[in-house]
């Protein structure tokens, strides 16, 4: 049988499509792997969809006067080419003019999120991460006097406070232990950098990794503002059980509640 032009064309298209599929799958796996780097600390003002928005130009890295930021290299397990910092090596020193965020051309670092009520740059509004203390290895919790992280914190007595507690073991000393307040902590990492234990006992983690979320089942009834979290919550009950047919007051008053 003669091989027609049509057959040739179909075969060629099928081959190209097959190659594109195979290549695309491998490519997708590689790219997806490199996307997963949940522990990297980003520059101040990083938006939620940072990986999507960052064009990886390195302008923020150029601007950083302390060489805090670097672009992720291959093999560093951070999404390739994106800016990040390792607080234990060089923390963010909280420049007042926030040059890294101000220079970002792609909107991945949003300077508007760091403006205060007077429309001035306010580095203290940044949320790069949150400090977490390892109570078992922090020597202040052993009762040995250390306040390195507390003293170095740019928001001393706000982001890190000292808690005083009696040391029952000696009977005449006090524990002076650091306590992080996640609502104020910016994640600059100066505490992790300053920590005197051989591996830092206070470390900075990305907020979405370290922080919990109460959800809408619990509300601080004593705070008017907190009720706002309920504004968009649906009140429809979607769970249907046998009891749903009766009113609550009916089945709670029924004596055989436990016999069902």
């Amino acid at each position: 049988m003669a091989i027609s032009e049509r057959r040739k064309f179909l075969l060629k298209t099928a081959k190209a499509a097959a190659a594109a599929t195979v290549g695309g799958l491998v490519w997708g796996v590689i790219a997806n792997e490199s996307k997963a780097s949940p522990l990297a600390l980003r520059p101040p003002g990083a938006v939620d969809d940072f990986l999507q928005t960052c064009i990886r130009c390195g302008l923020c890295v150029n601007e950083c006067p302390y060489h805090t930021l670097s672009l992720a290299k291959i093999g560093e397990n951070v999404a390739y080419g994106t800016p990040y910092f390792v607080a234990r090596d060089i923390p963010c020193y909280m420049c007042e003019d926030i040059p890294c965020t101000a220079t970002c051309p792609s909107g991945a670092l949003d300077i508007k999120s760091l403006l205060n009520e007077k429309e001035e740059f306010d580095i203290n509004k940044s949320q790069m991460g949150v400090a977490v203390v390892d109570h078992n290895n922090c020597i202040a919790y052993w009762g040995i006097q250390c306040d390195a992280c507390y003293r170095v914190c740019p928001l001393m007595d706000v982001a890190i406070t000292q808690e005083y507690r009696r040391n029952e073991r000696t009977g005449k000393h006090a524990f002076l232990t650091p306590m992080v307040h996640s609502d104020a902590c910016t994640g600059c990492g100066m505490c992790e950098h300053a920590c005197i234990t051989s591996k830092a006992s206070i470390i900075v983690l990305p907020r979405e990794v370290a922080l919990g979320k109460a959800g809408t089942n619990y509300i601080k009834g004593w705070e008017n503002e907190d009720e706002r979290r309920l504004i968009d919550v649906s009140t429809d009950v979607t769970t249907q059980t046998d009891r749903s047919e009766k009113r609550v007051s009916d089945y709670l008053n029924n004596s055989d509640l436990f016999d069902e």
């Binding site: 490519w27 590689i30 064009i55 672009l71 290299k73 909107g107």
Partner: protein
Amino acid sequence: MNKFRYLIARRIVQVLILVLFIGANIYGWKILEGNLSASFLLGTVPLADPFAVIQMFTAGATIAFDVALGAVIVSIFYAIFGGRAFCSWVCPINIISDGASWFRKILRIDEVEHRKYLGRNARYWMMGVALLLSFVMGVAAFEMISPVSIVHRGIIFGFGLGWGVIALIFIFDLFLVRHGWCSHLCPLGGFYSLVGSNSIFRVKYDVDKCSSCMNCVSICPEKQVLNMVTKMSSFVDNGECTLCARCIEVCNDDALNFSIKSFISKEK
């Protein structure tokens, strides 16, 4: 020297751009800051890789004004003047690819085998897959694996294991396909081929002067663009021409030269 005048000029431009980027990173020069993905020229004019911006847009990112304007500026420049000159005058991979091609010549690999493993349209498939993957995964997919990004970013900001990519491209181009990455696979090259296909700055071929020695075709990394050679005088119109000017340099008959093609009249 005359045989390499454009090659030397290209290397100077390629290295100069990298030196300016490195100077901005290390010494804070304000001439060209950033890298090939996005940068500021003289501290004010934004420039951005239009293909990266399109991928980001496909991935669903909100495109900020600076990179959008930068991408438009770069696109307009190449669409009107530059054609696909990015590939041979700016991209650092070009040096690797040309190096491998030179070694192929020394080792006489092309004389031993002529098999073609890979079509030149593969780059347009790569482009399509890049956009599809960007859409599906929600990140700029080619930017994740782009050897172009890895190499220029590596030179400016440090390599890590990125050296492997240079080796990979060199080996691929040397042993598997001549100009395998740049002229067959690279979706960025495919993108600039499309963007620059109507640019005015072109190589022009004159059949009357030509002695049909075919030096130009044998040196050309995109041989298909010289299909008019020995047949008729015309501009090298194909957008896949990278304006590397190797054909002009190797021509002993002055049959090939740079020329300006009128945008409107489409003279032949």
